[in-house]
Protein backbone atom coordinates (compact mmCIF):
# COMPACT_ATOMS: atom_id res chain seq x y z
CA UNK A 1 0.00 0.00 0.00
CA UNK A 2 2.75 2.44 0.97
CA UNK A 3 4.70 1.73 -2.19
CA UNK A 4 1.62 2.43 -4.34
CA UNK A 5 0.99 5.58 -2.34
CA UNK A 6 4.57 6.70 -2.89
CA UNK A 7 4.37 6.13 -6.64
CA UNK A 8 1.04 7.97 -7.02
CA UNK A 9 2.29 10.81 -4.82
CA UNK A 10 5.49 11.16 -6.82
CA UNK A 11 3.51 11.09 -10.11
CA UNK A 12 1.20 13.90 -8.95
CA UNK A 13 4.07 15.94 -7.55
CA UNK A 14 5.99 15.61 -10.79
CA UNK A 15 3.00 16.72 -12.86
CA UNK A 16 2.59 19.67 -10.52
CA UNK A 17 6.29 20.58 -10.63
CA UNK A 18 6.12 20.74 -14.42
CA UNK A 19 2.78 22.53 -14.82
CA UNK A 20 2.28 24.31 -11.48
CA UNK A 21 -1.46 24.28 -12.26
CA UNK A 22 -2.99 23.37 -8.91
CA UNK A 23 -0.87 25.59 -6.69
CA UNK A 24 -0.88 28.66 -8.93
CA UNK A 25 -4.65 28.52 -9.58
CA UNK A 26 -5.42 28.03 -5.89
CA UNK A 27 -3.00 30.77 -4.93
CA UNK A 28 -4.42 33.37 -7.31
CA UNK A 29 -7.94 32.43 -6.29
CA UNK A 30 -7.11 32.71 -2.58
CA UNK A 31 -5.57 36.15 -3.09
CA UNK A 32 -8.65 37.15 -5.04
CA UNK A 33 -10.90 36.09 -2.16
CA UNK A 34 -8.76 38.05 0.32
CA UNK A 35 -8.99 41.14 -1.90
CA UNK A 36 -12.76 40.75 -2.19
CA UNK A 37 -13.01 40.45 1.59
CA UNK A 38 -11.10 43.69 1.86
CA UNK A 39 -13.63 45.53 -0.31
CA UNK A 40 -16.70 43.84 1.13
CA UNK A 41 -15.77 44.20 4.79
CA UNK A 42 -13.09 46.88 5.08
CA UNK A 43 -10.67 44.65 6.98
CA UNK A 44 -8.21 47.29 8.15
CA UNK A 45 -9.73 47.84 11.56
CA UNK A 46 -8.52 46.22 14.79
CA UNK A 47 -11.75 44.22 15.19
CA UNK A 48 -11.49 42.82 11.69
CA UNK A 49 -7.85 41.93 12.18
CA UNK A 50 -8.92 39.61 14.98
CA UNK A 51 -10.90 37.66 12.37
CA UNK A 52 -7.87 37.30 10.07
CA UNK A 53 -7.53 33.54 10.59
CA UNK A 54 -11.16 33.14 9.57
CA UNK A 55 -10.67 35.07 6.33
CA UNK A 56 -7.56 33.08 5.57
CA UNK A 57 -9.20 29.67 5.97
CA UNK A 58 -12.37 30.64 4.12
CA UNK A 59 -10.18 31.71 1.21
CA UNK A 60 -8.43 28.34 1.35
CA UNK A 61 -11.59 26.31 1.72
CA UNK A 62 -12.76 27.74 -1.61
CA UNK A 63 -9.36 27.76 -3.29
CA UNK A 64 -8.88 24.17 -2.09
CA UNK A 65 -12.06 23.00 -3.85
CA UNK A 66 -10.62 24.38 -7.09
CA UNK A 67 -7.46 22.31 -6.94
CA UNK A 68 -9.29 19.29 -5.52
CA UNK A 69 -11.72 19.36 -8.44
CA UNK A 70 -8.74 19.08 -10.72
CA UNK A 71 -7.28 16.16 -8.82
CA UNK A 72 -9.50 13.50 -10.42
CA UNK A 73 -10.52 15.44 -13.51
CA UNK A 74 -6.88 15.00 -14.48
CA UNK A 75 -7.23 11.21 -14.25
CA UNK A 76 -10.52 11.23 -16.15
CA UNK A 77 -9.25 13.29 -19.08
CA UNK A 78 -6.52 10.95 -20.13
CA UNK A 79 -8.29 7.76 -19.10
CA UNK A 80 -5.65 7.29 -16.41
CA UNK A 81 -8.40 6.81 -13.82
CA UNK A 82 -9.53 3.61 -15.52
CA UNK A 83 -5.95 2.41 -15.73
CA UNK A 84 -5.52 3.12 -12.02
CA UNK A 85 -8.72 1.23 -11.22
CA UNK A 86 -7.58 -1.72 -13.33
CA UNK A 87 -4.04 -1.79 -11.98
CA UNK A 88 -3.47 -4.69 -9.58
CA UNK A 89 -2.64 -2.42 -6.66
CA UNK A 90 -4.32 -1.60 -3.38
CA UNK A 91 -6.97 1.15 -3.89
CA UNK A 92 -6.12 2.42 -0.42
CA UNK A 93 -2.61 3.13 -1.68
CA UNK A 94 -3.98 5.17 -4.58
CA UNK A 95 -6.11 7.16 -2.17
CA UNK A 96 -3.20 7.77 0.17
CA UNK A 97 -0.99 8.98 -2.67
CA UNK A 98 -3.63 11.34 -4.07
CA UNK A 99 -4.52 12.58 -0.60
CA UNK A 100 -0.91 13.32 0.35
CA UNK A 101 -0.33 15.06 -2.98
CA UNK A 102 -3.37 17.27 -2.43
CA UNK A 103 -2.28 17.99 1.14
CA UNK A 104 1.16 19.05 -0.12
CA UNK A 105 -0.41 21.33 -2.76
CA UNK A 106 -2.64 23.01 -0.16
CA UNK A 107 0.20 23.37 2.30
CA UNK A 108 2.56 24.89 -0.27
CA UNK A 109 -0.18 27.28 -1.44
CA UNK A 110 -0.68 28.42 2.13
CA UNK A 111 3.03 28.95 2.70
CA UNK A 112 3.29 31.05 -0.46
CA UNK A 113 0.17 33.04 0.46
CA UNK A 114 1.32 33.61 4.03
CA UNK A 115 3.48 36.71 3.44
CA UNK A 116 0.67 38.39 1.50
CA UNK A 117 -1.76 37.49 4.23
CA UNK A 118 0.55 39.00 6.86
CA UNK A 119 0.81 42.20 4.80
CA UNK A 120 -2.91 42.51 3.98
CA UNK A 121 -4.17 41.87 7.49
CA UNK A 122 -1.23 43.33 9.41
CA UNK A 123 -0.93 40.32 11.70
CA UNK A 124 2.17 38.97 13.38
CA UNK A 125 3.08 35.31 13.78
CA UNK A 126 3.44 34.77 17.49
CA UNK A 127 3.92 30.98 17.45
CA UNK A 128 5.69 29.60 14.40
CA UNK A 129 5.44 25.92 15.40
CA UNK A 130 1.72 26.22 16.04
CA UNK A 131 1.21 27.91 12.68
CA UNK A 132 3.11 25.19 10.83
CA UNK A 133 1.13 22.43 12.55
CA UNK A 134 -2.15 24.28 12.03
CA UNK A 135 -1.44 24.57 8.29
CA UNK A 136 -0.19 20.99 8.00
CA UNK A 137 -3.03 19.38 9.95
CA UNK A 138 -5.61 21.63 8.29
CA UNK A 139 -4.30 20.86 4.81
CA UNK A 140 -4.38 17.15 5.53
CA UNK A 141 -7.95 17.42 6.85
CA UNK A 142 -9.13 19.21 3.72
CA UNK A 143 -7.17 16.86 1.49
CA UNK A 144 -8.51 13.68 3.13
CA UNK A 145 -12.18 14.68 2.83
CA UNK A 146 -11.64 16.51 -0.43
CA UNK A 147 -9.82 13.68 -2.21
CA UNK A 148 -12.56 11.19 -1.35
CA UNK A 149 -15.33 13.54 -2.50
CA UNK A 150 -13.40 14.65 -5.55
CA UNK A 151 -13.21 11.00 -6.60
CA UNK A 152 -16.94 10.61 -5.95
CA UNK A 153 -17.88 13.82 -7.76
CA UNK A 154 -15.72 12.94 -10.78
CA UNK A 155 -18.20 10.10 -11.45
CA UNK A 156 -21.12 12.49 -11.85
CA UNK A 157 -22.50 14.82 -14.46
CA UNK A 158 -22.14 17.90 -12.28
CA UNK A 159 -18.67 17.30 -10.98
CA UNK A 160 -17.44 20.88 -10.44
CA UNK A 161 -20.69 21.83 -8.76
CA UNK A 162 -21.07 18.77 -6.61
CA UNK A 163 -17.65 18.72 -4.95
CA UNK A 164 -18.12 21.86 -2.79
CA UNK A 165 -21.71 20.82 -1.97
CA UNK A 166 -20.54 17.48 -0.61
CA UNK A 167 -17.18 18.49 0.76
CA UNK A 168 -17.76 21.79 2.58
CA UNK A 169 -20.50 20.63 5.03
CA UNK A 170 -18.39 17.66 6.06
CA UNK A 171 -15.34 19.85 6.45
CA UNK A 172 -17.09 22.14 8.96
CA UNK A 173 -15.33 20.69 12.04
CA UNK A 174 -11.96 20.86 10.27
CA UNK A 175 -12.60 24.43 9.22
CA UNK A 176 -13.56 25.55 12.73
CA UNK A 177 -10.53 23.81 14.25
CA UNK A 178 -8.18 25.18 11.59
CA UNK A 179 -9.39 28.75 12.17
CA UNK A 180 -9.02 28.41 15.94
CA UNK A 181 -5.51 26.91 15.77
CA UNK A 182 -4.36 29.60 13.33
CA UNK A 183 -5.84 32.28 15.61
CA UNK A 184 -3.79 30.78 18.41
CA UNK A 185 -0.66 30.81 16.25
CA UNK A 186 -1.24 34.50 15.52
CA UNK A 187 -1.35 35.13 19.26
CA UNK A 188 -5.03 36.07 19.30
CA UNK A 189 -6.18 33.34 21.64
CA UNK A 190 -4.50 31.90 24.70
CA UNK A 191 -4.91 28.18 24.17
CA UNK A 192 -5.98 25.87 21.40
CA UNK A 193 -5.11 22.41 22.71
CA UNK A 194 -8.72 21.22 22.22
CA UNK A 195 -8.65 22.41 18.62
CA UNK A 196 -5.33 20.78 17.82
CA UNK A 197 -6.67 17.53 19.21
CA UNK A 198 -9.92 17.86 17.26
CA UNK A 199 -8.01 18.53 14.05
CA UNK A 200 -5.84 15.49 14.70
CA UNK A 201 -8.87 13.31 15.43
CA UNK A 202 -10.55 14.58 12.25
CA UNK A 203 -7.43 13.73 10.22
CA UNK A 204 -7.19 10.24 11.68
CA UNK A 205 -10.93 9.53 11.29
CA UNK A 206 -11.20 10.73 7.71
CA UNK A 207 -7.94 9.28 6.43
CA UNK A 208 -8.89 5.91 7.94
CA UNK A 209 -12.51 6.01 6.72
CA UNK A 210 -11.42 7.02 3.21
CA UNK A 211 -8.80 4.27 3.09
CA UNK A 212 -11.52 1.76 3.93
CA UNK A 213 -14.16 2.98 1.44
CA UNK A 214 -11.96 4.09 -1.45
CA UNK A 215 -12.08 0.73 -3.23
CA UNK A 216 -15.84 1.24 -3.71
CA UNK A 217 -15.34 4.68 -5.21
CA UNK A 218 -12.66 3.58 -7.64
CA UNK A 219 -14.43 0.60 -9.23
CA UNK A 220 -16.35 1.15 -12.44
Amino acid sequence: MLRTAGIVLWKDLRIELRTRDAVSAALVFAILVLVIFNFALDVNTPEMRRLAAGFFWVAFAFAGTLSLNRSFALEKESGAGRALALAPVDPAGIFLGKCLANAVFLFVTQLVALPLFVIFFDVSIARVGALASSFALGSLAFAATGTLFSAIASNTRMRELLLPLLFLPLAVPALIAAVETTSFALGQTESASFWFRLLLVYDVVFVTASLLVFEYVLEE
Binding site: I152, L162, V172, I176, A177, F206, V213
Partner: protein, 235 residues
Protein backbone atom coordinates in the same frame (compact mmCIF):
# COMPACT_ATOMS: atom_id res chain seq x y z
CA UNK B 1 -49.53 -8.90 0.72
CA UNK B 2 -48.30 -8.95 4.30
CA UNK B 3 -46.42 -5.72 3.60
CA UNK B 4 -49.64 -4.07 2.38
CA UNK B 5 -51.40 -5.09 5.60
CA UNK B 6 -48.60 -3.67 7.73
CA UNK B 7 -48.80 -0.40 5.78
CA UNK B 8 -52.57 -0.14 6.37
CA UNK B 9 -52.09 -0.94 10.04
CA UNK B 10 -49.39 1.74 10.41
CA UNK B 11 -51.63 4.27 8.65
CA UNK B 12 -54.61 3.51 10.88
CA UNK B 13 -52.44 3.74 13.99
CA UNK B 14 -50.96 6.98 12.70
CA UNK B 15 -54.37 8.61 12.19
CA UNK B 16 -55.53 7.69 15.68
CA UNK B 17 -52.29 8.60 17.44
CA UNK B 18 -51.93 11.89 15.57
CA UNK B 19 -55.52 12.86 16.44
CA UNK B 20 -54.93 12.05 20.12
CA UNK B 21 -51.58 13.89 20.03
CA UNK B 22 -53.08 17.06 18.53
CA UNK B 23 -56.00 16.95 20.97
CA UNK B 24 -53.54 16.67 23.84
CA UNK B 25 -51.44 19.54 22.47
CA UNK B 26 -54.40 21.92 22.32
CA UNK B 27 -56.73 20.76 25.11
CA UNK B 28 -54.69 18.83 27.65
CA UNK B 29 -51.21 20.34 27.89
CA UNK B 30 -51.24 23.57 29.92
CA UNK B 31 -50.22 26.84 28.31
CA UNK B 32 -46.61 27.62 29.17
CA UNK B 33 -46.45 30.47 31.69
CA UNK B 34 -43.74 32.58 30.03
CA UNK B 35 -43.82 31.70 26.36
CA UNK B 36 -47.59 31.39 26.06
CA UNK B 37 -49.40 29.68 23.25
CA UNK B 38 -46.41 29.71 20.87
CA UNK B 39 -44.70 27.07 23.01
CA UNK B 40 -47.17 24.52 21.55
CA UNK B 41 -44.91 24.29 18.51
CA UNK B 42 -42.48 22.46 20.79
CA UNK B 43 -44.67 19.33 20.51
CA UNK B 44 -44.15 19.30 16.74
CA UNK B 45 -40.61 20.62 16.60
CA UNK B 46 -38.95 18.18 19.00
CA UNK B 47 -40.48 14.93 17.65
CA UNK B 48 -39.62 16.03 14.10
CA UNK B 49 -36.01 16.65 15.11
CA UNK B 50 -35.65 13.29 16.87
CA UNK B 51 -37.10 11.43 13.90
CA UNK B 52 -34.87 13.31 11.48
CA UNK B 53 -31.85 12.09 13.43
CA UNK B 54 -33.33 8.59 13.43
CA UNK B 55 -33.63 8.84 9.64
CA UNK B 56 -29.97 9.78 9.24
CA UNK B 57 -28.88 6.97 11.55
CA UNK B 58 -30.93 4.64 9.32
CA UNK B 59 -29.17 6.02 6.22
CA UNK B 60 -25.86 5.14 7.86
CA UNK B 61 -26.94 1.63 8.75
CA UNK B 62 -28.54 0.89 5.36
CA UNK B 63 -25.56 2.34 3.45
CA UNK B 64 -23.25 0.17 5.47
CA UNK B 65 -25.39 -2.88 4.76
CA UNK B 66 -25.46 -2.02 1.07
CA UNK B 67 -21.67 -1.86 0.83
CA UNK B 68 -21.43 -5.18 2.64
CA UNK B 69 -24.10 -7.08 0.67
CA UNK B 70 -24.61 -5.15 -2.62
CA UNK B 71 -28.29 -5.92 -2.28
CA UNK B 72 -30.39 -3.19 -3.87
CA UNK B 73 -33.05 -3.27 -1.22
CA UNK B 74 -30.59 -1.59 1.18
CA UNK B 75 -29.96 1.20 -1.30
CA UNK B 76 -33.68 1.83 -1.73
CA UNK B 77 -34.05 1.89 2.05
CA UNK B 78 -31.17 4.32 2.50
CA UNK B 79 -32.61 6.64 -0.12
CA UNK B 80 -36.10 6.56 1.39
CA UNK B 81 -34.78 7.20 4.91
CA UNK B 82 -32.65 10.09 3.62
CA UNK B 83 -35.57 11.73 1.82
CA UNK B 84 -37.91 11.57 4.79
CA UNK B 85 -35.03 12.64 7.07
CA UNK B 86 -34.34 15.71 4.93
CA UNK B 87 -38.06 16.52 4.82
CA UNK B 88 -38.27 16.35 8.61
CA UNK B 89 -35.08 18.40 9.02
CA UNK B 90 -36.51 21.05 6.71
CA UNK B 91 -39.63 21.18 8.89
CA UNK B 92 -37.45 21.43 12.00
CA UNK B 93 -35.61 24.37 10.43
CA UNK B 94 -38.96 26.03 9.61
CA UNK B 95 -40.72 25.43 12.93
CA UNK B 96 -37.61 26.44 14.90
CA UNK B 97 -37.50 30.10 13.83
CA UNK B 98 -41.30 30.42 14.18
CA UNK B 99 -40.83 29.45 17.81
CA UNK B 100 -37.61 31.42 18.34
CA UNK B 101 -38.80 34.80 17.05
CA UNK B 102 -41.49 35.49 19.70
CA UNK B 103 -39.54 33.79 22.49
CA UNK B 104 -35.91 34.85 21.91
CA UNK B 105 -36.70 37.89 19.78
CA UNK B 106 -34.63 36.58 16.88
CA UNK B 107 -35.27 34.08 14.10
CA UNK B 108 -31.95 32.35 14.30
CA UNK B 109 -28.93 31.99 16.54
CA UNK B 110 -25.76 30.00 15.89
CA UNK B 111 -26.42 27.80 18.87
CA UNK B 112 -24.93 24.29 18.85
CA UNK B 113 -28.14 22.40 18.15
CA UNK B 114 -29.39 24.81 15.50
CA UNK B 115 -26.08 24.84 13.70
CA UNK B 116 -25.77 21.06 13.84
CA UNK B 117 -29.26 20.70 12.35
CA UNK B 118 -28.39 23.07 9.53
CA UNK B 119 -25.11 21.28 8.77
CA UNK B 120 -26.92 17.93 8.79
CA UNK B 121 -29.46 19.32 6.35
CA UNK B 122 -26.61 20.41 4.06
CA UNK B 123 -24.84 17.04 4.27
CA UNK B 124 -27.95 15.05 3.37
CA UNK B 125 -29.06 17.51 0.69
CA UNK B 126 -25.63 16.83 -0.82
CA UNK B 127 -26.37 13.10 -0.53
CA UNK B 128 -29.68 13.48 -2.38
CA UNK B 129 -28.16 15.73 -5.05
CA UNK B 130 -25.36 13.25 -5.66
CA UNK B 131 -28.00 10.57 -6.30
CA UNK B 132 -29.57 12.73 -8.99
CA UNK B 133 -26.36 13.23 -10.92
CA UNK B 134 -25.10 9.67 -11.29
CA UNK B 135 -26.57 7.90 -14.31
CA UNK B 136 -25.81 4.25 -13.61
CA UNK B 137 -27.99 2.82 -10.79
CA UNK B 138 -25.12 0.57 -9.74
CA UNK B 139 -22.64 3.45 -9.36
CA UNK B 140 -25.27 5.68 -7.80
CA UNK B 141 -25.94 3.16 -5.05
CA UNK B 142 -22.25 2.63 -4.28
CA UNK B 143 -21.27 6.32 -4.28
CA UNK B 144 -24.34 7.32 -2.27
CA UNK B 145 -23.57 4.60 0.27
CA UNK B 146 -20.04 5.95 0.69
CA UNK B 147 -21.45 9.43 1.37
CA UNK B 148 -24.11 7.94 3.67
CA UNK B 149 -21.42 6.30 5.77
CA UNK B 150 -18.84 9.11 5.88
CA UNK B 151 -21.52 11.77 6.38
CA UNK B 152 -22.74 10.11 9.54
CA UNK B 153 -19.23 9.55 10.90
CA UNK B 154 -18.81 13.32 10.64
CA UNK B 155 -21.81 14.09 12.88
CA UNK B 156 -20.11 13.70 16.28
CA UNK B 157 -17.14 15.75 15.06
CA UNK B 158 -19.43 18.53 13.88
CA UNK B 159 -21.28 18.41 17.17
CA UNK B 160 -18.18 18.68 19.35
CA UNK B 161 -16.62 21.36 17.18
CA UNK B 162 -19.73 23.53 17.25
CA UNK B 163 -20.34 22.99 20.93
CA UNK B 164 -16.83 23.89 21.95
CA UNK B 165 -16.85 26.84 19.59
CA UNK B 166 -20.10 28.03 21.20
CA UNK B 167 -18.71 27.89 24.71
CA UNK B 168 -15.79 30.07 23.62
CA UNK B 169 -17.81 32.67 21.79
CA UNK B 170 -20.49 34.63 23.66
CA UNK B 171 -24.04 33.72 22.75
CA UNK B 172 -26.34 36.49 21.52
CA UNK B 173 -29.37 35.31 23.49
CA UNK B 174 -29.78 33.53 26.76
CA UNK B 175 -31.69 30.39 25.89
CA UNK B 176 -33.64 29.37 28.96
CA UNK B 177 -33.01 25.88 30.27
CA UNK B 178 -35.42 24.18 27.92
CA UNK B 179 -36.76 20.84 29.06
CA UNK B 180 -35.96 21.65 32.68
CA UNK B 181 -38.92 20.93 34.90
CA UNK B 182 -41.54 20.04 32.31
CA UNK B 183 -45.06 19.85 33.70
CA UNK B 184 -46.08 16.14 33.78
CA UNK B 185 -48.99 16.91 31.45
CA UNK B 186 -46.52 18.54 29.05
CA UNK B 187 -44.15 15.58 29.06
CA UNK B 188 -47.06 13.15 28.57
CA UNK B 189 -48.17 15.20 25.56
CA UNK B 190 -44.61 15.27 24.24
CA UNK B 191 -44.31 11.50 24.39
CA UNK B 192 -47.61 10.95 22.59
CA UNK B 193 -46.43 13.42 19.95
CA UNK B 194 -43.13 11.57 19.62
CA UNK B 195 -45.08 8.36 19.03
CA UNK B 196 -47.32 10.07 16.47
CA UNK B 197 -44.43 11.59 14.51
CA UNK B 198 -42.45 8.36 14.62
CA UNK B 199 -45.46 6.64 13.05
CA UNK B 200 -45.65 9.44 10.49
CA UNK B 201 -41.97 8.92 9.74
CA UNK B 202 -42.41 5.22 9.12
CA UNK B 203 -45.63 5.68 7.15
CA UNK B 204 -43.88 8.10 4.77
CA UNK B 205 -40.79 5.91 4.68
CA UNK B 206 -42.88 2.87 3.77
CA UNK B 207 -44.70 4.78 1.03
CA UNK B 208 -41.42 5.99 -0.39
CA UNK B 209 -40.12 2.43 -0.48
CA UNK B 210 -43.28 1.32 -2.29
CA UNK B 211 -42.78 4.01 -4.92
CA UNK B 212 -39.19 2.89 -5.36
CA UNK B 213 -40.32 -0.74 -5.84
CA UNK B 214 -42.94 0.34 -8.40
CA UNK B 215 -40.38 2.42 -10.23
CA UNK B 216 -37.98 -0.52 -10.43
CA UNK B 217 -40.85 -2.70 -11.66
CA UNK B 218 -41.81 -0.17 -14.34
CA UNK B 219 -38.19 0.08 -15.45
CA UNK B 220 -37.90 -3.70 -15.74
CA UNK B 221 -41.11 -3.81 -17.80
CA UNK B 222 -39.82 -1.07 -20.07
CA UNK B 223 -36.56 -2.92 -20.57
CA UNK B 224 -38.50 -6.09 -21.43
CA UNK B 225 -40.65 -4.19 -23.91
CA UNK B 226 -37.56 -2.64 -25.51
CA UNK B 227 -35.93 -6.02 -25.80
CA UNK B 228 -39.07 -7.56 -27.33
CA UNK B 229 -39.32 -4.71 -29.82
CA UNK B 230 -35.68 -5.05 -30.80
CA UNK B 231 -36.21 -8.77 -31.36
CA UNK B 232 -39.35 -8.10 -33.43
CA UNK B 233 -37.45 -5.66 -35.63
CA UNK B 234 -34.69 -8.20 -36.21
CA UNK B 235 -36.95 -11.07 -37.34
Amino acid sequence: MARRKIAIFVDALLVVTMAVAMAMVFFYAPIESEMGIVQKIFYVHVPLAWNAFLGFAMVFFFSFRYLATRDHKWDARAQSAAEVGVLFTTLVLITGPIWAKPVWGIWWTWDARLTLTLVLWLIYMGYLMLRRYVESPERRAVLAAVVGVTGFIDVPLVYFAIRWWRTQHPQPVIAGGEGSGLDPRMSATLWVCVAAFTLLFFALYGRRLEIEALRAQAEALRDDADAAQAQGARS
